[in-house]
Protein backbone atom coordinates (compact mmCIF):
# COMPACT_ATOMS: atom_id res chain seq x y z
CA UNK A 1 0.00 0.00 0.00
CA UNK A 2 1.49 3.25 -1.13
CA UNK A 3 1.68 6.02 1.41
CA UNK A 4 -0.47 8.29 -0.70
CA UNK A 5 -3.39 5.95 -0.27
CA UNK A 6 -4.02 6.75 3.38
CA UNK A 7 -3.93 10.44 2.50
CA UNK A 8 -6.54 9.90 -0.17
CA UNK A 9 -8.66 7.83 2.18
CA UNK A 10 -8.46 10.53 4.83
CA UNK A 11 -9.42 13.22 2.35
CA UNK A 12 -12.38 11.17 1.17
CA UNK A 13 -13.51 10.45 4.69
CA UNK A 14 -13.21 14.10 5.66
CA UNK A 15 -15.33 15.07 2.71
CA UNK A 16 -17.97 12.59 3.79
CA UNK A 17 -18.19 14.02 7.26
CA UNK A 18 -18.03 17.70 6.54
CA UNK A 19 -21.49 19.24 6.41
CA UNK A 20 -22.19 21.66 3.60
CA UNK A 21 -25.03 22.84 1.45
CA UNK A 22 -25.09 19.66 -0.61
CA UNK A 23 -24.62 17.30 2.31
CA UNK A 24 -27.05 17.66 5.16
CA UNK A 25 -26.04 14.74 7.31
CA UNK A 26 -22.66 13.14 7.66
CA UNK A 27 -22.25 9.59 6.45
CA UNK A 28 -20.43 8.20 9.45
CA UNK A 29 -20.56 4.56 8.48
CA UNK A 30 -18.42 4.73 5.36
CA UNK A 31 -16.37 7.56 6.80
CA UNK A 32 -15.45 5.42 9.81
CA UNK A 33 -14.38 2.58 7.58
CA UNK A 34 -12.20 4.91 5.55
CA UNK A 35 -10.71 6.41 8.70
CA UNK A 36 -9.84 2.96 9.99
CA UNK A 37 -8.16 1.96 6.76
CA UNK A 38 -6.25 5.21 6.62
CA UNK A 39 -5.13 4.80 10.23
CA UNK A 40 -3.80 1.30 9.59
CA UNK A 41 -2.04 2.53 6.49
CA UNK A 42 -0.38 5.34 8.40
CA UNK A 43 0.66 3.00 11.17
CA UNK A 44 2.33 0.66 8.70
CA UNK A 45 4.10 3.64 7.17
CA UNK A 46 5.18 4.64 10.70
CA UNK A 47 3.60 8.06 10.35
CA UNK A 48 2.61 8.34 13.99
CA UNK A 49 1.16 11.82 13.95
CA UNK A 50 -1.26 11.20 11.12
CA UNK A 51 -2.10 7.71 12.35
CA UNK A 52 -3.01 9.14 15.73
CA UNK A 53 -5.32 11.73 14.16
CA UNK A 54 -6.89 9.05 11.97
CA UNK A 55 -7.54 6.81 14.97
CA UNK A 56 -9.09 9.70 16.84
CA UNK A 57 -11.47 10.42 14.00
CA UNK A 58 -12.27 6.72 13.62
CA UNK A 59 -13.10 6.57 17.29
CA UNK A 60 -15.39 9.58 16.98
CA UNK A 61 -17.09 7.89 14.05
CA UNK A 62 -17.68 4.72 16.02
CA UNK A 63 -19.16 6.79 18.80
CA UNK A 64 -21.58 8.33 16.34
CA UNK A 65 -22.47 4.84 15.22
CA UNK A 66 -23.20 3.98 18.86
CA UNK A 67 -20.58 1.28 19.22
CA UNK A 68 -18.60 2.47 22.23
CA UNK A 69 -16.52 -0.72 22.33
CA UNK A 70 -14.90 -0.05 18.94
CA UNK A 71 -14.60 3.62 19.78
CA UNK A 72 -12.71 2.74 22.96
CA UNK A 73 -10.41 0.36 21.06
CA UNK A 74 -9.52 3.06 18.57
CA UNK A 75 -8.90 5.53 21.39
CA UNK A 76 -6.44 3.09 22.91
CA UNK A 77 -4.57 2.75 19.62
CA UNK A 78 -4.47 6.53 19.33
CA UNK A 79 -3.11 6.74 22.87
CA UNK A 80 -0.38 4.19 22.10
CA UNK A 81 0.69 6.29 19.14
CA UNK A 82 0.63 9.46 21.23
CA UNK A 83 2.97 7.67 23.62
CA UNK A 84 5.41 7.07 20.73
CA UNK A 85 5.28 10.76 20.00
CA UNK A 86 5.89 11.60 23.66
CA UNK A 87 2.77 13.72 23.88
CA UNK A 88 1.98 13.00 27.50
CA UNK A 89 -1.15 15.10 28.03
CA UNK A 90 -2.73 13.51 25.01
CA UNK A 91 -1.78 10.05 26.26
CA UNK A 92 -3.52 10.70 29.55
CA UNK A 93 -6.59 12.19 27.87
CA UNK A 94 -6.94 9.40 25.35
CA UNK A 95 -6.64 6.63 27.87
CA UNK A 96 -9.16 8.36 30.15
CA UNK A 97 -11.59 8.73 27.27
CA UNK A 98 -11.11 5.09 26.32
CA UNK A 99 -11.80 4.08 29.90
CA UNK A 100 -15.01 6.13 29.97
CA UNK A 101 -16.17 4.50 26.76
CA UNK A 102 -15.50 1.05 28.21
CA UNK A 103 -17.57 1.99 31.25
CA UNK A 104 -20.40 3.05 28.93
CA UNK A 105 -20.25 -0.47 27.51
CA UNK A 106 -20.64 -1.70 31.05
CA UNK A 107 -17.24 -3.40 31.17
CA UNK A 108 -15.25 -2.09 34.13
CA UNK A 109 -12.38 -4.55 33.70
CA UNK A 110 -11.17 -3.19 30.34
CA UNK A 111 -11.81 0.32 31.67
CA UNK A 112 -9.39 -0.14 34.50
CA UNK A 113 -6.98 -1.93 32.15
CA UNK A 114 -6.96 1.12 29.89
CA UNK A 115 -6.19 3.41 32.83
CA UNK A 116 -3.46 1.05 34.00
CA UNK A 117 -1.88 1.07 30.55
CA UNK A 118 -1.96 4.85 30.57
CA UNK A 119 -0.40 5.00 34.01
CA UNK A 120 2.38 2.63 32.95
CA UNK A 121 3.10 4.79 29.94
CA UNK A 122 3.26 7.93 32.06
CA UNK A 123 5.26 6.44 34.94
CA UNK A 124 8.58 7.94 33.94
CA UNK A 125 7.40 11.16 32.38
CA UNK A 126 4.59 12.45 34.57
CA UNK A 127 4.50 10.31 37.73
CA UNK A 128 1.82 12.38 39.46
CA UNK A 129 -0.59 11.85 36.61
CA UNK A 130 0.33 8.18 36.59
CA UNK A 131 -0.55 7.89 40.27
CA UNK A 132 -3.88 9.58 39.63
CA UNK A 133 -4.64 7.08 36.87
CA UNK A 134 -3.67 4.14 39.06
CA UNK A 135 -5.92 5.42 41.87
CA UNK A 136 -8.84 5.79 39.47
CA UNK A 137 -8.27 2.32 38.09
CA UNK A 138 -8.27 0.88 41.62
CA UNK A 139 -11.53 2.65 42.46
CA UNK A 140 -13.20 1.30 39.33
CA UNK A 141 -12.26 -2.24 40.26
CA UNK A 142 -13.28 -1.78 43.87
CA UNK A 143 -16.71 -0.53 42.85
CA UNK A 144 -17.13 -3.68 40.87
CA UNK A 145 -16.06 -5.91 43.79
CA UNK A 146 -13.03 -7.13 41.93
CA UNK A 147 -10.39 -6.07 44.40
CA UNK A 148 -8.21 -9.08 43.67
CA UNK A 149 -7.36 -7.64 40.29
CA UNK A 150 -6.36 -4.37 41.85
CA UNK A 151 -3.36 -5.76 43.74
CA UNK A 152 -0.98 -5.25 40.84
CA UNK A 153 -2.13 -1.67 40.48
CA UNK A 154 -1.61 -0.99 44.17
CA UNK A 155 1.87 -2.43 43.94
CA UNK A 156 2.80 -0.29 40.95
CA UNK A 157 1.42 2.89 42.51
CA UNK A 158 3.31 2.22 45.75
CA UNK A 159 6.54 1.81 43.76
CA UNK A 160 6.01 5.19 42.13
CA UNK A 161 5.33 6.87 45.47
CA UNK A 162 8.50 5.44 46.94
CA UNK A 163 10.49 6.50 43.90
CA UNK A 164 9.14 10.01 44.39
CA UNK A 165 10.06 9.70 48.08
CA UNK A 166 6.53 10.54 49.17
CA UNK A 167 6.59 8.15 52.09
CA UNK A 168 3.40 9.16 53.91
CA UNK A 169 1.46 8.85 50.69
CA UNK A 170 3.05 5.49 50.02
CA UNK A 171 2.11 4.24 53.48
CA UNK A 172 -1.46 5.49 53.13
CA UNK A 173 -1.74 3.69 49.82
CA UNK A 174 -0.38 0.52 51.35
CA UNK A 175 -3.07 0.71 54.02
CA UNK A 176 -5.66 1.06 51.28
CA UNK A 177 -4.20 -2.05 49.72
CA UNK A 178 -4.62 -3.77 53.06
CA UNK A 179 -8.27 -2.72 53.10
CA UNK A 180 -8.85 -4.17 49.63
CA UNK A 181 -7.13 -7.38 50.65
CA UNK A 182 -9.33 -7.56 53.71
CA UNK A 183 -12.47 -7.32 51.61
CA UNK A 184 -11.54 -10.34 49.57
CA UNK A 185 -10.03 -12.18 52.55
CA UNK A 186 -6.55 -12.29 51.15
CA UNK A 187 -4.94 -12.36 54.56
CA UNK A 188 -1.38 -12.91 53.41
CA UNK A 189 -1.42 -9.87 51.15
CA UNK A 190 -3.15 -7.85 53.86
CA UNK A 191 -0.51 -8.59 56.46
CA UNK A 192 2.26 -7.96 53.95
CA UNK A 193 0.71 -4.59 53.11
CA UNK A 194 0.54 -3.57 56.79
CA UNK A 195 4.11 -4.66 57.47
CA UNK A 196 5.28 -2.72 54.40
CA UNK A 197 3.45 0.38 55.63
CA UNK A 198 5.20 0.18 59.00
CA UNK A 199 8.57 -0.25 57.32
CA UNK A 200 7.92 2.76 55.09
CA UNK A 201 7.07 4.89 58.11
CA UNK A 202 10.23 3.76 59.89
CA UNK A 203 12.31 4.48 56.82
CA UNK A 204 10.87 8.00 56.71
CA UNK A 205 12.14 8.21 60.29
CA UNK A 206 8.61 8.81 61.53
CA UNK A 207 8.57 6.58 64.55
CA UNK A 208 5.37 8.01 66.04
CA UNK A 209 3.44 7.34 62.85
CA UNK A 210 4.86 3.85 62.70
CA UNK A 211 3.67 3.17 66.21
CA UNK A 212 0.24 4.62 65.52
CA UNK A 213 0.05 2.51 62.40
CA UNK A 214 1.02 -0.58 64.33
CA UNK A 215 -1.57 0.15 66.99
CA UNK A 216 -4.26 0.57 64.37
CA UNK A 217 -3.29 -2.59 62.59
CA UNK A 218 -3.07 -4.69 65.74
CA UNK A 219 -6.81 -4.21 66.08
CA UNK A 220 -7.07 -6.65 63.23
CA UNK A 221 -6.69 -10.14 64.66
CA UNK A 222 -5.19 -11.67 61.58
CA UNK A 223 -2.31 -9.27 61.55
CA UNK A 224 -1.71 -9.58 65.28
CA UNK A 225 -1.31 -13.33 65.22
CA UNK A 226 0.54 -13.47 61.95
CA UNK A 227 4.30 -13.74 61.44
CA UNK A 228 4.25 -10.33 59.88
CA UNK A 229 2.63 -8.79 62.95
CA UNK A 230 5.20 -10.34 65.21
CA UNK A 231 8.00 -9.12 62.98
CA UNK A 232 6.52 -5.62 63.09
CA UNK A 233 6.31 -5.64 66.88
CA UNK A 234 9.89 -6.89 67.14
CA UNK A 235 11.00 -4.14 64.80
CA UNK A 236 9.24 -1.46 66.81
CA UNK A 237 10.57 -2.72 70.12
CA UNK A 238 14.07 -2.83 68.64
CA UNK A 239 13.63 0.76 67.59
CA UNK A 240 12.37 1.88 70.98
CA UNK A 241 15.34 0.20 72.64
CA UNK A 242 17.76 1.63 70.11
CA UNK A 243 19.12 -1.81 69.24
CA UNK A 244 20.73 -1.31 65.85
CA UNK A 245 22.00 -4.87 65.56
CA UNK A 246 18.53 -6.26 66.13
CA UNK A 247 17.06 -3.94 63.49
CA UNK A 248 19.67 -5.00 60.99
CA UNK A 249 19.06 -8.67 61.78
CA UNK A 250 15.31 -8.27 61.34
CA UNK A 251 15.90 -6.48 58.08
CA UNK A 252 17.70 -9.53 56.77
CA UNK A 253 15.09 -11.99 58.02
CA UNK A 254 13.14 -14.14 55.65
CA UNK A 255 9.79 -12.52 56.42
CA UNK A 256 10.96 -9.20 55.07
CA UNK A 257 12.52 -10.91 52.07
CA UNK A 258 9.09 -12.11 51.05
CA UNK A 259 7.78 -8.59 50.61
CA UNK A 260 7.92 -6.49 47.49
CA UNK A 261 11.48 -5.78 46.36
CA UNK A 262 11.12 -2.02 46.72
CA UNK A 263 10.19 -2.49 50.37
CA UNK A 264 13.05 -4.94 50.86
CA UNK A 265 15.44 -2.27 49.66
CA UNK A 266 14.04 0.17 52.23
CA UNK A 267 14.16 -2.42 55.00
CA UNK A 268 17.79 -3.24 54.31
CA UNK A 269 18.63 0.42 54.67
CA UNK A 270 17.06 0.64 58.12
CA UNK A 271 17.81 2.15 60.58
CA UNK A 272 17.93 5.63 59.16
CA UNK A 273 19.14 8.38 61.35
CA UNK A 274 19.54 8.45 65.07
CA UNK A 275 17.90 5.54 66.78
CA UNK A 276 19.09 6.48 70.25
CA UNK A 277 17.29 9.82 69.97
CA UNK A 278 14.07 7.88 69.54
CA UNK A 279 14.86 5.86 72.61
CA UNK A 280 15.05 8.93 74.88
CA UNK A 281 11.90 10.40 73.32
CA UNK A 282 9.95 7.23 73.97
CA UNK A 283 11.18 7.08 77.55
CA UNK A 284 10.08 10.67 78.18
CA UNK A 285 6.61 10.01 76.82
CA UNK A 286 6.06 7.14 79.17
CA UNK A 287 7.03 9.19 82.17
CA UNK A 288 4.34 11.84 81.67
CA UNK A 289 1.22 9.75 82.28
CA UNK A 290 2.77 8.37 85.43
CA UNK A 291 3.18 11.91 86.74
CA UNK A 292 -0.52 12.61 86.18
CA UNK A 293 -1.34 9.46 88.06
CA UNK A 294 0.56 10.77 91.03
CA UNK A 295 -1.43 14.00 90.99
CA UNK A 296 -4.77 12.22 90.80
Amino acid sequence: MASSDPNKLMAKADKLTKLSLTRWSADWKSATQLYEQAAIGYRVAKNHEKAKIAFEKASKGQEMLSSPWDAAKHMESAAALAKELGNWTEVADFYKRASELYMVCGRPQPASDALAKGARALEDAVPDEAIQLYTDACSILEEDDKEQMAFDLYRAATCIYIKLEKYTDAATFLLRWGLAADKCSATNSQCKAYLSAIIVYLYAHDFKQAEKCYNDCSQIDVFLRNDHGRCASKLLSAYSEGDIEEIKRLGQSSIISNLDHVIIRLARKLPTGEVSALKTEAAEEHEEPLDENDLT
Binding site: Q148, M149, T168, D169, A171, T172, L175, R176, G178, L179, A181, D182, K183, C184, S185, A186, N188, S189, Q190, Y194, A197, Q209, E211, K212, C213, N215, D216, C217, S218, Q219, I220, S233, S237, S254, I255, N258, E285, H286, P289, E292, N293, T296
Partner: protein, 273 residues
Amino acid sequence: MSVIDILTRVDAICKKYDKYDVEKQKDLNVAGDDAFARLYAAVEADLESALQKAESASKEKNKASAVAMNAEVRRTKARLLEEVPKLQRLAVKKVKGLSGEELAARNDLVLALPDRIQAIPDGSAPAAKQSGGWAASASRTEIKFDSDGRFDDEYFQQTEESSGFRQEFEMRKIKQATSLTFLQDQGLDMISEGLDTLKNMASDMNEELDRQVPLMDEIDTKVDKAASDLKNTNVRLKDTVNQLRSSRNFCIDIILLCIILGIAAYLYNVLKK
Protein backbone atom coordinates in the same frame (compact mmCIF):
# COMPACT_ATOMS: atom_id res chain seq x y z
CA MET B 1 -33.38 0.32 45.43
CA SER B 2 -35.26 2.23 48.10
CA VAL B 3 -36.09 5.92 48.02
CA ILE B 4 -33.45 6.66 50.62
CA ASP B 5 -30.78 5.04 48.46
CA ILE B 6 -31.90 7.07 45.49
CA LEU B 7 -31.80 10.26 47.55
CA THR B 8 -28.30 9.60 48.86
CA ARG B 9 -27.10 8.75 45.39
CA VAL B 10 -28.58 11.95 43.98
CA ASP B 11 -26.89 13.94 46.73
CA ALA B 12 -23.55 12.34 46.01
CA ILE B 13 -23.85 12.99 42.29
CA CYS B 14 -24.88 16.62 42.86
CA LYS B 15 -21.93 17.16 45.14
CA LYS B 16 -19.63 15.61 42.56
CA TYR B 17 -20.83 17.91 39.82
CA ASP B 18 -21.06 21.03 41.95
CA LYS B 19 -18.07 22.43 40.20
CA TYR B 20 -20.19 22.85 37.11
CA ASP B 21 -22.84 24.85 38.95
CA VAL B 22 -22.34 28.38 37.61
CA GLU B 23 -24.24 30.14 40.40
CA LYS B 24 -22.29 28.42 43.12
CA GLN B 25 -19.06 29.33 41.42
CA LYS B 26 -20.11 32.98 41.37
CA ASP B 27 -20.65 32.85 45.13
CA LEU B 28 -17.28 31.27 45.68
CA ASN B 29 -15.59 33.78 43.45
CA VAL B 30 -16.81 36.71 45.54
CA ALA B 31 -13.49 36.54 47.28
CA GLY B 32 -11.74 36.29 43.93
CA ASP B 33 -9.29 39.12 44.41
CA ASP B 34 -8.35 38.16 47.90
CA ALA B 35 -5.77 35.38 47.89
CA PHE B 36 -6.03 34.94 51.64
CA ALA B 37 -9.78 34.41 51.58
CA ARG B 38 -9.48 31.88 48.77
CA LEU B 39 -6.77 29.87 50.48
CA TYR B 40 -8.58 30.06 53.78
CA ALA B 41 -11.79 28.81 52.17
CA ALA B 42 -9.90 25.92 50.61
CA VAL B 43 -8.30 25.00 53.93
CA GLU B 44 -11.67 25.17 55.67
CA ALA B 45 -13.20 22.88 53.07
CA ASP B 46 -10.37 20.37 53.54
CA LEU B 47 -10.78 20.57 57.30
CA GLU B 48 -14.49 19.83 57.00
CA SER B 49 -13.95 16.85 54.76
CA ALA B 50 -11.23 15.52 57.07
CA LEU B 51 -13.59 15.86 60.05
CA GLN B 52 -16.29 13.99 58.18
CA LYS B 53 -13.90 11.25 57.25
CA ALA B 54 -12.73 10.98 60.84
CA GLU B 55 -16.33 10.70 62.00
CA SER B 56 -17.15 7.97 59.53
CA ALA B 57 -13.92 6.21 60.47
CA SER B 58 -14.92 6.16 64.12
CA LYS B 59 -18.31 4.71 63.20
CA GLU B 60 -16.78 2.19 60.86
CA LYS B 61 -17.20 -1.40 61.95
CA ASN B 62 -14.73 -2.94 59.56
CA LYS B 63 -11.36 -2.50 61.22
CA ALA B 64 -9.33 -2.54 58.03
CA SER B 65 -11.29 0.29 56.45
CA ALA B 66 -11.02 2.22 59.71
CA VAL B 67 -7.25 1.85 59.51
CA ALA B 68 -7.19 3.05 55.92
CA MET B 69 -9.43 6.02 56.70
CA ASN B 70 -7.36 7.01 59.71
CA ALA B 71 -4.27 7.00 57.56
CA GLU B 72 -6.01 9.29 55.06
CA VAL B 73 -7.01 11.68 57.82
CA ARG B 74 -3.44 11.80 59.12
CA ARG B 75 -2.15 12.54 55.66
CA THR B 76 -4.65 15.37 55.22
CA LYS B 77 -3.67 16.80 58.58
CA ALA B 78 0.01 16.83 57.66
CA ARG B 79 -0.80 18.57 54.40
CA LEU B 80 -2.98 21.20 56.09
CA LEU B 81 -0.33 21.94 58.70
CA GLU B 82 2.03 22.71 55.84
CA GLU B 83 -0.44 25.23 54.43
CA VAL B 84 -0.75 27.19 57.69
CA PRO B 85 2.51 29.16 57.38
CA LYS B 86 1.44 30.26 53.89
CA LEU B 87 -1.82 31.52 55.33
CA GLN B 88 0.00 33.39 58.06
CA ARG B 89 2.09 35.21 55.51
CA LEU B 90 -0.98 36.15 53.52
CA ALA B 91 -2.88 37.25 56.61
CA VAL B 92 -0.46 40.07 57.39
CA LYS B 93 -0.67 41.48 53.87
CA LYS B 94 -2.82 44.54 53.52
CA VAL B 95 -5.72 44.22 51.12
CA LYS B 96 -7.64 47.26 49.94
CA GLY B 97 -11.12 47.59 51.36
CA LEU B 98 -10.19 45.84 54.57
CA SER B 99 -10.34 47.54 57.95
CA GLY B 100 -7.70 47.19 60.65
CA GLU B 101 -9.96 45.08 62.85
CA GLU B 102 -10.61 42.59 60.09
CA LEU B 103 -6.87 42.23 59.58
CA ALA B 104 -6.44 41.42 63.27
CA ALA B 105 -9.38 39.01 63.07
CA ARG B 106 -7.70 37.22 60.17
CA ASN B 107 -4.53 36.79 62.17
CA ASP B 108 -6.52 35.23 64.98
CA LEU B 109 -8.26 32.88 62.57
CA VAL B 110 -4.95 31.69 61.20
CA LEU B 111 -3.56 31.19 64.70
CA ALA B 112 -6.59 29.14 65.65
CA LEU B 113 -6.16 26.90 62.62
CA PRO B 114 -3.32 24.63 63.83
CA ASP B 115 -5.29 23.78 66.96
CA ARG B 116 -8.35 22.93 64.92
CA ILE B 117 -6.28 20.79 62.61
CA GLN B 118 -4.68 18.90 65.48
CA ALA B 119 -8.07 18.44 67.10
CA ILE B 120 -9.29 16.30 64.23
CA PRO B 121 -9.50 12.81 65.68
CA ASP B 122 -7.42 10.35 63.71
CA GLY B 123 -8.04 7.36 65.86
CA SER B 124 -4.89 7.77 67.91
CA ALA B 125 -5.09 11.20 69.53
CA PRO B 126 -4.65 11.05 73.31
CA ALA B 127 -7.95 12.88 73.70
CA ALA B 128 -8.33 12.80 77.48
CA LYS B 129 -4.92 13.99 78.44
CA GLN B 130 -6.01 16.54 81.04
CA SER B 131 -9.13 14.93 82.40
CA GLY B 132 -7.49 12.03 84.20
CA GLY B 133 -7.84 9.71 81.25
CA TRP B 134 -5.66 7.16 82.93
CA ALA B 135 -8.64 4.93 83.50
CA ALA B 136 -10.38 5.72 80.22
CA SER B 137 -9.36 3.66 77.24
CA ALA B 138 -9.25 6.63 74.88
CA SER B 139 -5.51 7.10 75.01
CA ARG B 140 -3.92 4.70 72.56
CA THR B 141 -0.39 5.10 73.85
CA GLU B 142 -1.45 4.07 77.32
CA ILE B 143 -3.24 1.05 75.99
CA LYS B 144 -0.17 0.12 74.07
CA PHE B 145 1.82 0.37 77.26
CA ASP B 146 -0.54 -2.04 78.97
CA SER B 147 -0.94 -4.51 76.17
CA ASP B 148 2.74 -4.43 75.39
CA GLY B 149 3.39 -5.39 78.98
CA ARG B 150 0.92 -8.25 78.76
CA PHE B 151 2.26 -9.56 75.51
CA ASP B 152 5.74 -9.18 76.71
CA ASP B 153 4.83 -11.37 79.69
CA GLU B 154 3.54 -14.17 77.54
CA TYR B 155 6.26 -13.83 75.03
CA PHE B 156 8.84 -13.35 77.68
CA GLN B 157 8.34 -16.86 78.95
CA GLN B 158 9.10 -18.11 75.55
CA THR B 159 12.04 -15.88 75.11
CA GLU B 160 13.45 -17.16 78.39
CA GLU B 161 13.45 -20.63 76.96
CA SER B 162 14.70 -19.56 73.62
CA SER B 163 17.32 -17.33 75.18
CA GLY B 164 18.42 -20.40 77.15
CA PHE B 165 18.73 -22.29 73.90
CA ARG B 166 20.61 -19.43 72.36
CA GLN B 167 23.06 -19.33 75.22
CA GLU B 168 23.66 -23.05 74.87
CA PHE B 169 24.16 -22.58 71.18
CA GLU B 170 26.69 -19.79 71.73
CA MET B 171 28.59 -21.86 74.31
CA ARG B 172 28.76 -24.81 72.00
CA LYS B 173 29.82 -22.58 69.21
CA ILE B 174 32.70 -21.31 71.27
CA LYS B 175 33.70 -24.81 72.39
CA GLN B 176 33.52 -26.80 69.23
CA ALA B 177 33.05 -24.90 66.05
CA THR B 178 32.87 -28.04 63.98
CA SER B 179 30.74 -30.28 66.23
CA LEU B 180 27.92 -32.21 64.69
CA THR B 181 25.23 -30.36 66.59
CA PHE B 182 26.56 -27.11 65.25
CA LEU B 183 26.25 -28.41 61.72
CA GLN B 184 22.82 -29.74 62.56
CA ASP B 185 21.77 -26.32 63.79
CA GLN B 186 23.07 -24.71 60.66
CA GLY B 187 21.21 -27.24 58.54
CA LEU B 188 18.03 -26.66 60.51
CA ASP B 189 18.38 -22.92 60.00
CA MET B 190 18.59 -23.39 56.27
CA ILE B 191 15.62 -25.73 56.32
CA SER B 192 13.59 -23.18 58.24
CA GLU B 193 14.44 -20.49 55.73
CA GLY B 194 13.43 -22.75 52.90
CA LEU B 195 10.17 -23.52 54.68
CA ASP B 196 9.48 -19.81 55.05
CA THR B 197 9.92 -19.32 51.33
CA LEU B 198 7.68 -22.30 50.63
CA LYS B 199 5.01 -20.98 52.94
CA ASN B 200 5.10 -17.62 51.25
CA MET B 201 4.86 -19.15 47.80
CA ALA B 202 2.02 -21.40 48.91
CA SER B 203 -0.04 -18.48 50.26
CA ASP B 204 0.57 -16.52 47.09
CA MET B 205 -0.58 -19.48 45.03
CA ASN B 206 -3.64 -19.76 47.25
CA GLU B 207 -4.56 -16.14 46.63
CA GLU B 208 -3.92 -16.47 42.92
CA LEU B 209 -6.22 -19.46 42.70
CA ASP B 210 -8.88 -17.57 44.65
CA ARG B 211 -8.57 -14.84 42.07
CA GLN B 212 -8.98 -17.28 39.20
CA VAL B 213 -12.11 -18.99 40.54
CA PRO B 214 -14.68 -16.31 39.59
CA LEU B 215 -13.00 -15.87 36.22
CA MET B 216 -13.39 -19.57 35.52
CA ASP B 217 -17.06 -19.38 36.49
CA GLU B 218 -17.54 -16.56 34.01
CA ILE B 219 -15.82 -18.52 31.28
CA ASP B 220 -18.03 -21.48 32.12
CA THR B 221 -21.28 -19.53 31.73
CA LYS B 222 -20.12 -17.84 28.54
CA VAL B 223 -19.05 -21.07 26.91
CA ASP B 224 -22.31 -22.74 27.90
CA LYS B 225 -24.27 -19.93 26.30
CA ALA B 226 -22.21 -20.10 23.13
CA ALA B 227 -22.65 -23.88 22.90
CA SER B 228 -26.43 -23.69 23.27
CA ASP B 229 -26.58 -20.95 20.62
CA LEU B 230 -24.65 -23.15 18.24
CA LYS B 231 -26.96 -26.09 18.86
CA ASN B 232 -30.01 -23.95 18.16
CA THR B 233 -28.56 -22.62 14.95
CA ASN B 234 -27.63 -26.11 13.78
CA VAL B 235 -31.12 -27.47 14.34
CA ARG B 236 -32.73 -24.58 12.49
CA LEU B 237 -30.30 -24.99 9.61
CA LYS B 238 -31.12 -28.67 9.38
CA ASP B 239 -34.83 -27.92 9.24
CA THR B 240 -34.41 -25.32 6.53
CA VAL B 241 -32.29 -27.58 4.35
CA ASN B 242 -34.74 -30.43 4.74
CA GLN B 243 -37.63 -28.22 3.76
CA LEU B 244 -35.89 -27.13 0.61
CA ARG B 245 -35.26 -30.70 -0.45
CA SER B 246 -38.73 -32.18 0.33
CA SER B 247 -40.47 -33.69 -2.71
CA ARG B 248 -43.82 -32.12 -1.90
CA ASN B 249 -42.43 -28.64 -2.41
CA PHE B 250 -41.02 -29.62 -5.75
CA CYS B 251 -44.41 -30.84 -7.07
CA ILE B 252 -46.08 -27.68 -5.82
CA ASP B 253 -43.40 -25.61 -7.55
CA ILE B 254 -43.89 -27.45 -10.87
CA ILE B 255 -47.70 -27.19 -10.79
CA LEU B 256 -47.58 -23.48 -10.03
CA LEU B 257 -45.07 -22.99 -12.82
CA CYS B 258 -47.46 -24.73 -15.29
CA ILE B 259 -50.36 -22.57 -14.13
CA ILE B 260 -48.33 -19.40 -14.65
CA LEU B 261 -47.27 -20.54 -18.12
CA GLY B 262 -50.93 -21.35 -18.92
CA ILE B 263 -52.04 -17.88 -17.83
CA ALA B 264 -49.23 -16.29 -19.83
CA ALA B 265 -50.19 -18.27 -22.94
CA TYR B 266 -53.85 -17.30 -22.52
CA LEU B 267 -52.99 -13.61 -22.21
CA TYR B 268 -50.71 -13.87 -25.23
CA ASN B 269 -53.51 -15.37 -27.21
CA VAL B 270 -55.97 -12.72 -26.13
CA LEU B 271 -53.57 -9.91 -26.93
CA LYS B 272 -52.59 -11.37 -30.29
CA LYS B 273 -56.17 -11.03 -31.40
